[in-house]
Amino acid sequence: MDKKVQLKRLIIFLVLAFGLAWGYEFIFIGNGFVWDVKDPDSVRLISLVSLVMLAPAIAHVLTRVFTKESLKPAGKDSMMLGINIDNGKWKVFLFAILIPLAYSASADLLLCLTTRGLFDTSILPDSGMPNSMAILIPVSAVSNGVIISFAAFGEEFGWRAYMMPKLKALMGRYPALIVGGVIWGLWHAPLTCIGHNFGTDYPGFPYVGIMLMCLYCILLGGILTYVTEKTGSVWPAAFLHGVNNASPSILAAFMNAEKLSQVSLFKQIVCMVIPFVLICLILELRGRKKLM
């Protein structure tokens, strides 16, 4: 298809996705909303603000309507809503649901191994629960992440099902992964500026936070794009994103909150990035092997 048409559609999509999301967020920010999990008023509104995740999905549908692009649910150049579990594709679905458990637990393990006193087995018993109850954390994350994944679906339906195919057609796979990640990271910028993800108390606030969010989105975007490409469907990416957002690490239950607050953001990021990079490399090498 003509690259100019693709570019035009992509620009319309981005204007809508950013316009809808930022417009919605600025209504709250303008009224003094800050992302503070300790403030009851903020907590009450956090889930309402989180509905902004549906903006890319709305932008996707509107762009297709405005540009008279096909609205077919599945197949080539489609909205990627079909589900196909044949030819072993169900394994990709399973991988998508379980991989967040692996990388988040690995990141926490690295953090615990490199920080003395962070791992504390007395936290759960102190709050009246046996340590074995920690097993419910990943189980609950998978259950909630898959069933209540509409918000994650909202983002993935926009980014993975519309933006990434367009970017890949325009600039090739690897540049698309980086540019797509940066766009996705910048889309989060207003929320990063009010403390989402990294809080407000770190050196270089908020610019460092925005850059870190872009890095995080490039890495996570790599895995999400992989599962979308493998299945031709947006669903595994939505489930992966949902489970990822549900904080599935079992070690989180054993982390001393006071010690954790003393760990530098840089160290936390390094521990988080290492498993991501390893997974991306493994997926990429596996993909290349199959091509060869």
Binding site: L51, L136, V139
Partner: protein, 251 residues
């Protein structure tokens, strides 16, 4: 497979259903936004009660009705899907004329109903998020938790019903499938009637239910976490049984 999903969408009159679904959702959101203004503009209205109603109760009742209405639609899907294929002749003849395997054909029905349940539940959750976030009346907040639990339970119940229904319709055929459905409904009605006749109804009130929920947080969390796995396992088991019976030519 995608074609089969689209066929199922047509079979259940998906376009009409989607439009109805979205219109009801949009109307309720509009009501939620406008309700406080309507109540505050009434000169003689009991504003405390009005505020309370506008702040949550209407919204909660609406959410429950919405979920139950479309949950019931999900429960009725198996009949429509199988009956629609039967109008095209024997089902076995129908799918042997398609470029898909028996398993793909059966899987498409299960996936379709799964997607429907997901969509209904997601919209109910959006409803819950908007409603509970805007709720400022402290007395109503526990009711939101109950309502969320009811919606969650009803979504699982719909999937469970669909699993039994679809399994019965595919494995035993339409007439026996209908008999299974009638038996299920009778069983449910009997249980409800039994509770009303012999159960301790006079002590049941919203306050007691709310207190019970607060006192059994842990057990409820456990059910909330494990419930989806149990129900989805039954759903998958129903799919495997349907495939098994289909292989034996029962369909």
């Amino acid at each position: 497979m995608s074609g089969l999903l689209y066929k199922d969408f047509i079979s259940v009159k998906g376009k009409k259903l989607t439009i109805t679904f979205l219109v009801i959702f949009a109307v309720m959101i509009a009501v939620r936004i406008l309700m406080p203004y309507i109540f505050s503009s009434l000169p003689d209205a009991d504003l405390d009660m009005g505020d309370m109603m506008a702040d949550g109760l209407y919204w909660i009742i609406g959410m429950l009705l919405f979920t139950m209405m479309f949950g019931t639609v999900i429960c009725s899907c198996p009949t429509k899907l199988v009956e629609d294929d039967k109008t095209r002749g024997r089902v076995i003849d129908y799918y042997s004329s398609l470029p898909v395997t028996k398993k793909q054909y059966i899987a498409s029905h299960y996936i379709f109903i799964g997607i429907m349940a997901y969509v209904v539940f997601s919209f109910s959750m959006i409803w819950y998020v908007i409603g509970s976030s805007l709720c400022r009346t402290e007395q109503i907040k526990p009711l939101w938790n109950i309502a969320q639990l009811v919606v969650f339970s009803f979504a699982l119940f719909s999937i469970l019903c669909a699993a039994i229904d679809l399994g019965a319709f595919i494995s035993l055929g339409s007439s026996k499938g209908k008999a299974v459905r009638v038996a299920m409904i009778m069983l449910l009605c009997t249980a409800i009637l039994w509770y009303f006749f012999f159960g301790d109804v006079k002590d049941v009130s919203l306050e007691i239910i709310a207190n019970w929920i607060m006192a059994h947080q842990f057990e409820l969390s456990l059910v909330e976490v494990t419930g989806p796995f149990i129900v989805l396992s039954i759903y998958y088991l129903s799919y495997r049984i349907s495939c098994h019976f289909c292989d034996k030519g029962a369909y």
